[in-house]
């Protein structure tokens, strides 16, 4: 027991070390159903769910039979206490039984393969209908860029897609590309994951039939902040989606009361990486900030998008997301306040 003591202290102590701010994300996540693969709300995820249950059932049946044999034989054939030590009969084997337990697995595998192949084709080879939405998803080191080429909208980290009616499906097709290293786009309740690889274009599609917010995140190791490359998909009925598109198309509002903040924005390094439509900011390395406040989170889901969190973020992003590629801006307190005051007008 004494040897355990340091370890126990470590375990008890770790929550204290870790009493870190979750920047409001815990409360926000708790309102969203957890991203479980067995609660699908979109056709690809649904098909996977079906084939998954089938596979699990088959495997569970095999497990019960084989594990039953193992347990039976270790109970039935254990050497009894006080045994005379006489060696049991030496059975070399049985070709028919070898044959049987080769054939049965092949039959099972055969059925599984057929089912698998059909599901692969029905998900991967689905044609893109004309009234679908097209989104370019671009993975960056540690955030997501979403571009709607047919609708003229650019946003980040929170993907908006319309609800798809089973009778009149309006699926969303995603073209996946990467600006740097390999990532993987994954929203468990909507579809399986598809890798986002530089110098290669992958596609996938979703057609959610239930409105709501769906959590996802990057699933391919992509460097320091792989863990905080989160994303959300907002599924809304078509009219709401259209309203969101219309709002996103607006240029940034110029509010005279925050002129000083805007000047700071336009005269510091911010403009090298960020876009604000209608200003000098045309950088492409960071997320488009034109409608920053329309998003619920910042830092690719690392923190809730509140003015306080924004201040912390701009002052030094590594407080929230150590290793993030955005540099600390080192502004005076007043400049920081004014800059964030400007940012919160970007609805």
């Amino acid at each position: 027991m004494k040897r355990w003591l340091p370890i126990l202290i470590g375990l008890v102590g770790s929550p204290i070390i870790a009493f870190a701010n979750d920047w409001g994300m815990g409360a926000s996540n708790a309102k969203i159903p957890p991203p479980t693969i067995f609660t699908p709300v979109s056709t690809p995820a649904n098909e996977i769910d079906t084939v998954a249950y089938f596979t699990i059932t088959v495997c569970a049946a095999i497990f019960v039979i084989v594990a039953g044999l193992v347990v039976y034989s270790i109970i039935r054939f254990r050497e009894p206490p006080g045994d005379d030590g006489r060696e049991p009969a030496q059975v070399y084997g049985s070709n028919p039984i070898e044959f049987a337990w080769t054939t049965v697995p092949i039959l099972i595998v055969f059925v599984l393969i057929l089912t698998t192949a059909r599901t692969i084709y029905s998900v991967q080879a689905a044609p893109r209908p004309p009234d679908s939405i097209l989104v370019h998803v671009i993975g960056h080191q540690w955030w997501w860029e979403f571009r709607y080429p047919e609708l003229g909208v650019v946003t980040a980290n929170e993907l908006h897609v319309p609800l798809s009616d089973r009778a009149h499906p309006t699926p969303t097709f995603l073209d996946l590309e990467s600006a740097d290293v390999a990532h993987s786009f994954w929203v468990p309740r909507l579809a399986g994951k598809t890798d986002v690889i530089p110098n290669r274009k992958n596609t996938m599609w979703i057609d959610p039939h239930q409105p709501g917010i769906y959590l996802g995140q990057c699933a391919e190791y992509c460097g320091t902040e792989h863990a905080l490359m989160l994303l959300r998909v907002v599924v809304e009925p078509r009219p709401d989606f259209d309203r969101w598109i219309a709002a996103q198309k607006q240029r940034a509002v110029a509010d005279a009361s925050v002129d000083h903040g805007r000047q700071i924005f336009e005269t510091t390094a911010c403009v090298n990486c960020h876009v604000v439509q209608g200003t000098a900011a045309e950088g492409r390395f960071g997320p488009d900030l034109t409608h920053l406040m329309a998003r619920e989170t910042i830092g690719a889901g690392a923190a809730m998008n509140t003015p306080d969190n924004l201040k912390t973020w701009v002052h030094d992003p590594s407080t929230i997301k150590p290793g993030a590629l955005m540099p600390a801006m080192n502004l005076s307190q007043k400049d920081l306040d004014d800059l964030v005051a400007y940012l919160v007008t970007l609805h």
């Binding site: 249950y53 089938f54 005379d84 030590g85």
Partner: protein, 277 residues
């Protein structure tokens, strides 16, 4: 390595050369990420190691003589005889069972049953849907998602691709089940016919009934269960009959596999001359 005398054994002599060579190579590599001087030192050590290694195997291998400690490793004989199996005759070594159907019986049974089943299925298609292709297309839907939304007319038309897939599925399944029959029927010595024609088909049908919506949703929607069971039973009866009619062969208990295949006859002959000591 043949010994000179009975008290000494030749073994390869210990040597530091391999270690030096490995160290040299590692340092040469490490120089890539540290400094060229490390590489140079490494290469020098590696060459020294290699030269000393060569000098140990050329012209002949260095060996050392090790004195053998006289020892008597005695293996004690078991006090009790080995237990025997209670099958027919007295056996304690067995490849079980003692009699089996030849594997070709299973293949033949599978083919016969498969043919009968296919004929019945096609007849069903002709009677109910006026097309021999109907059942074939439906079977192929197991692997073809495009048939999921197909109309009855599409399903009744001839399609070479679906025919190929259906044939593959049917042939594979029939052969495998036939083989299984050939192997398993001797395990049910009392009522082989009952097992082959009733139990196995019903078991198989039950499994399919439970999983068909995943394995083949198209078939699940359109299946006619009575015909389906009829086809299964026909397969089971025919395959079982063909298998059961075949004569059983005794497994070769006492000849080793290698001898049966004729691979190791030479060493067996050797052993026999010496007797089984």
């Amino acid at each position: 390595m043949v010994e000179n005398s009975q008290n000494e054994v030749r073994l390869p002599a210990p040597s530091a050369a391999p270690m030096l060579f490995a160290l040299g190579i590692t340092l040469a590599f490490a120089g890539v990420v540290t400094s060229v001087s490390v590489s140079i030192v490494g290469i020098v050590i590696a060459i020294a190691g290699a030269v000393s290694w060569f000098s140990e195997v050329l012209p002949t291998e260095h060996e050392e003589m090790v004195t053998v400690t006289p020892e008597s490793v005695v293996v004690v004989q078991a006090k009790l005889p080995v237990a025997y199996l209670e099958v027919g005759e007295q056996l304690n070594r067995a490849v079980l069972p003692l009699e089996i159907f030849p594997y070709t019986a299973g293949i033949k049974g599978g083919i016969a049953g498969g043919v009968v089943m296919a004929v019945l299925a096609v007849v069903q298609g002709i009677i109910f849907h006026g097309s021999p292709w109907y059942t074939i297309n439906i079977l192929a839907a197991t692997a073809m998602p495009s048939l999921a939304q197909a109309t009855t007319a599409t399903l009744s038309a001839f399609n070479p691709e679906t025919l190929a897939i259906a044939l593959l599925i049917h042939a594979t399944a029939s052969l495998l089940v036939g083989l299984l029959y050939g192997v398993m029927l001797p395990m049910f010595p009392r009522y082989p016919a009952f097992f082959a024609a009733i139990v196995a088909p019903l078991l198989w049908t039950g499994l399919l009934w439970a999983t068909l919506d995943v394995i083949n949703p198209v078939l699940d929607l359109r299946i006619e269960w009575r015909w389906f069971i009829l086809c299964q039973i026909a397969f089971g009866a025919v395959a079982g009959y063909v298998v059961d009619r075949t004569e059983k062969v005794r497994t070769l208990q006492h000849l080793p596999f290698a001898v049966r295949t004729g691979i190791e006859a030479r060493y067996r002959a050797n052993d026999d001359q010496k007797g089984d000591a």
